[in-house]
Symmetry: C2
DNA sequence: GTCTATAGGTGGATAGAC
DNA sequence: GTCTATCCACCTATAGAC
């Protein structure tokens, strides 16, 4: 099963999207410094030179990757917003986004890139920051509304709680790669949600 | 100020240790796939060939790096054990280990390597797992004793709580590189500790 | 132990034919 | 759009002089 957030060309003919799909998978599993045009070319059955027609250099490819990932993530958040359920259920759905990424044996794209941050082109660094800004804003709002409704509980500042949760989820994904696996992630995620959700 | 866990050759003449110190710094900031023998050679004012006399290949260097880091981490944990303070204070000291690493603009060595895990030589992968095993065991014991003494509180299984905390700290470090900085880490760390420590 | 020199491979990127 | 052919920089690693 495909758990990627943004793959959109499962078998379709759009080469550009197929490149993005494969590059995304490679970055999420191996990191930006751990993949090359040769990896993509081999997987797609084309030459390296062809890739440069679609993305003239690696930094540009990287930037599109982050933007597409961010847009898909944002779409998933809007989907939660429109679901009309309670704050606790929405929080669980937020955590499930991360869980689905991990089930595909992938790290969060921007979590992976955060590790490599200082080695990345400036243009990519800015896009990564934007991704975390988006998550922080959405989650802060959810936490505030949830607390006002008496459904969620957490200490003081909602923005700080949001950032702590984002970091905790990213870290649970990160560590699970080397220790604990998917089940380790799920156990950590469950504990994190339980602390915030009052409903039992 | 030097906040590294294991640097031991500040100005001393031991080339082997100087190589390890610089390689450690490079991996913690740039990742294993983001540094080369050339980086180390330039920083130390020697040639790449000289490095191969001390570490015949990069994987071997990587393995020693992890083992040395693990030993230093273990020493820091033993230092906490011998301090004779309460469980809550010990937990805060554990968190401070991470904080000191970050103050040197570094990511946890093994957190960084966890991101690159699938690209690493087998011999390094095993050593990374051992590092997390060590942390899990130490922290689990602390949590169990702390709860028995009425100082700490957390849900159910101490081992799961330990792993969730390790992941949360690693993730807070990770995300802080791209979003929030050191202050972001400190805020998250404070929230994590407050949830577990009953003492106020 | 450290050096010079170099091998053999892979990295990202380009020119120009089709 | 995709190809072949090629460039040059950088990579890990080795041989052998000093």
């Amino acid at each position: 099963m495909d758990h990627s957030l943004s793959s959109s060309a499962a078998g379709s003919g759009d080469t550009r999207e197929r490149i993005l799909d494969e590059a995304e998978r490679l970055v999420q599993t191996r990191g930006y410094n751990g993949f090359s045009y040769a990896h993509i070319a081999k997987a797609l059955g084309v030459t390296k030179a062809s890739l440069h027609y679609h993305f003239s250099n690696k930094a540009e490819l990287g930037r599109y990757l982050i933007e597409r990932y961010g847009e898909s993530f944002e779409a998933a958040l809007l989907g939660i917003d429109e679901s009309g359920t309670g704050a606790c259920d929405r929080l669980k759905r937020y955590v499930e986004i991360y869980e689905h990424v991990l089930e595909d044996d992938r790290m969060c794209l921007c979590g992976m890139l955060a590790a490599e941050y200082v080695t990345l082109p400036e243009i990519m660094q800015k896009s990564i920051s934007t991704f975390f800004d988006l998550n922080e804003a959405w989650l802060t709002k959810l936490l505030e509304k949830g607390r006002a409704a008496g459904e969620l509980q957490f200490a003081n500042d909602a923005r700080e709680a949001a950032n702590a949760l984002i970091g905790s989820l990213e870290g649970a994904m990160l560590v699970s790669r080397a220790h604990g696996g998917r089940e380790g992630f799920r156990a950590s995620a469950r504990l994190l949600v339980e602390k915030i959700c009052r409903a039992r």
